[in-house]
């Protein structure tokens, strides 16, 4: 394969003020996790019997795994719709996807109370296949492994550049061609599994019934969540292109403009389902009845609609970056609204807002994700080689 010419390493040193600060945030987060493991969830979090699911599941899992859908969205675009045209963007998308999912999994392990029993997912006798959460858990575990396999070629490529006689190089030389042959099966699995669990992340809330505000509670949650994930996958990929262009001081990737043109197709589909469903369920007037939830609903809707229309027009790198950021916020907000804002267990519980330690753990995970991306992008060839920034 000619990947040496398609992908390049990011320039720059590993230890910089940015990476040091990130490492400190990671260390803070992980110290609090240690504290949580000893003293329990109640001490560090604002979770209660009324709001048993907090920011770790709403942000790290629901929103975070969708932010990590770059690998999924770009794969669909690349392998299904346009004949590998955007293939150069896939590696960095896969890396962020892998870290997004791995950390979503890790934050679930921090969140669950009886983590030592989690091995039950490996025992068929304990599988409860009616459970939406079972599907989500198994599927996310599977997809994380698939992402790791999809990411292997870039790692092997760098390992093969080691000293000629080292054992690792020999191993990499042996594995790489074999992996290349079966990779396509995993790539397709990498498109199937997210379709399954991203929709199920929405289905999770169907069972909460009347506790979820009618603006969000619908049997179409699975469809809304999976299309929202694809939308977010594109938004985050574009956002990252802009970010790595600025952060690694590289010219802007020309492929991004092509990807931006796909966003409105998915976006209008999502909006059609969202509003079609509100009309079908007879709750369209709820969206115009003044309330806290109405305001939240319209902020969310505007944050998604505006970027879609901007993407239809003429773009420059700067505009593209900020529009993608808006769309990421809007799409993420939809998911958090379902998981937290629209959720109301009744009047007996104080409304939930994450505590500082809870937030610090989440910041720690985000910092770890960014840090790992920077380190890997500098060690391995992940970024597309830039031809020219003009489309």
């Amino acid at each position: 394969m000619s990947s040496e010419h398609t992908y390049v390493k990011a320039p720059g040193k590993l230890i910089t003020p940015t990476t040091v600060i990130l490492a400190l945030i990671v260390a803070t987060g992980f110290s609090i996790i240690g504290y949580r493991l000893v003293f329990g969830l109640g001490v560090i979090s604002n979770l209660s019997d009324g709001y048993p699911w907090g920011v770790w599941l709403a942000y790290d899992v629901a929103a975070g795994s969708a932010f990590a859908c770059g690998g999924y969205s770009v794969a669909i675009l690349c392998y299904i719709f346009n004949g590998w045209k955007y293939h150069p963007m896939i590696r960095s998308a896969l890396v962020t996807s892998f870290f997004g999912y791995a950390l979503a999994g890790l934050s679930v392990m921090v969140d669950i109370g009886r983590y030592w029993n989690a091995y039950g997912f490996m025992m068929p006798s304990r599988w409860q296949t009616n459970s939406v959460l079972f599907e989500v858990a198994v599927c996310i575990m599977g997809y994380t492994v698939v992402l790791l396999i999809e990411f292997m070629p870039s790692a092997l490529e760098t390992l093969r550049e080691l000293k000629p006689n080292s054992f690792i190089k020999k191993l990499a030389d042996f594995t790489a061609p074999k992996l290349d042959k079966v990779l396509m099966f995993f790539v397709v699995l990498g498109m199937t599994l997210p379709t399954m669990h991203q929709s199920s992340l929405g289905t999770l809330f169907v069972i909460t019934g009347q506790q979820l505000h009618p603006l969000w509670q619908t049997n179409l949650l699975p469809l809304l969540f999976v299309s929202n994930a694809i939308l977010l996958g594109f938004a985050v990929t574009l956002f990252e292109s802009g970010l790595s262009a600025a952060g690694f001081k590289r010219p802007f990737e020309a492929e991004a403009f092509g990807v931006a043109k796909v966003v409105p197709i998915v976006g209008f589909f999502w909006l059609a389902v969202r509003f079609g469903d509100l009309i079908y369920r007879g709750h369209i007037l709820t969206a115009f009845t003044p309330s806290f939830h109405m305001v939240i609903f319209w902020i969310e809707t505007l944050l998604i609609t505006a970027p879609i229309f901007i993407f239809l027009g003429k773009l420059n790198p700067r505009k593209l970056f900020y529009t993608a950021l808006l769309l990421t916020l809007g799409g993420g907000m939809y998911r958090i609204d379902v998981y937290l804002v629209g959720f109301n267990p009744g009047d007996n519980w104080y409304a939930y807002f994450p505590s500082i330690p809870e937030a610090l753990i989440t910041f720690g995970f985000i910092a770890l994700e960014v840090l790992a991306y920077i380190v890997l992008a500098r060690l391995l060839r992940l970024l597309p080689a830039v031809h020219t920034a003009h489309n």
Binding site: V43, W53, G83, N130, V132, M184, V206
Partner: protein, 313 residues
Amino acid sequence: MKSTRRRFLQTAAAGIGLTALSPTLSAASEAKSFGPDEVGMLYDSTLCVGCKACVYACRSENFDADSSSELDEKALAEQRWHDAYELDYRTKNIIKLYQNPDDVNDFAFIKRQCNHCQSPGCVSACPVKAMTKNPVTGTVQYDKNICIGCRYCQMACPFKIPTFEWHMTFPKISKCELCRQTPKGTPACCRVCPAKAVIYDKRSILLAEAKRRLAENPDRYINKIYGEYDYGGTNVLYLSRVDFEKLGLPNLPNYSYAGVSENIQHTLYKTFNHVPIAPVALYAALAAVAFVQHKRRGKKDAGNEAKKDGGEK
């Protein structure tokens, strides 16, 4: 190419849309029936005097030294139990007071504990079978040795019954299991109630008793047995003079949201010989398209690759 893509999206949307919408309709008709030996409780709010003997009996019966906090032990040693305002890890049963703010004489008590639903949200939600419904007695039971502590049961319960030991290093879920560990069979709350406001028996007998009371004293009650049909029916039944919603029992449909959720899952993941059809079909379709695209690219590549060579490293 563009038109095929649009058509694909349209068909996919229509397909997923229809399958997702249909469950609401079928869920109600699929309500399961209660077995002949299913047990439950009947709580008559008009008989309850609010003495809370049941709350204390429940605590003594279910007291778990392993999960009590220092405060609990101190209170226990001083024969002074902490008074809970909500169900919590040590309170599986609670008596609450409804008070009309405009009329001091308008008040009623309500007993809250697990209702042991016919189609329980917690059982449907639990990913690892830690929550199960006993097929004979209909009691919803919890197994801490399997539980992973994900708390999806708490999210899924429309009555907000399961509680969690937030203060514990090794926490577990706590909820009424009808004192299934008791040799006597009758739950502690029903044993001690001096007013016979809560009684324990087979559900069919309790339902007949509730109907008899309603027929004999129509003026004493609002004309509804809460739990007969609510949420697909529950093994615990309630009678009251005051609106059930005022007492904190939510106004629920006659079907379980668990049924709706399971219908969506079963539609999307319908299996044939243990193989989920839709995901496998999706995989096959994606694989076919990806393969064609891969082939097509192979032909183009021969020319393009030469151009790309010489790019930066």
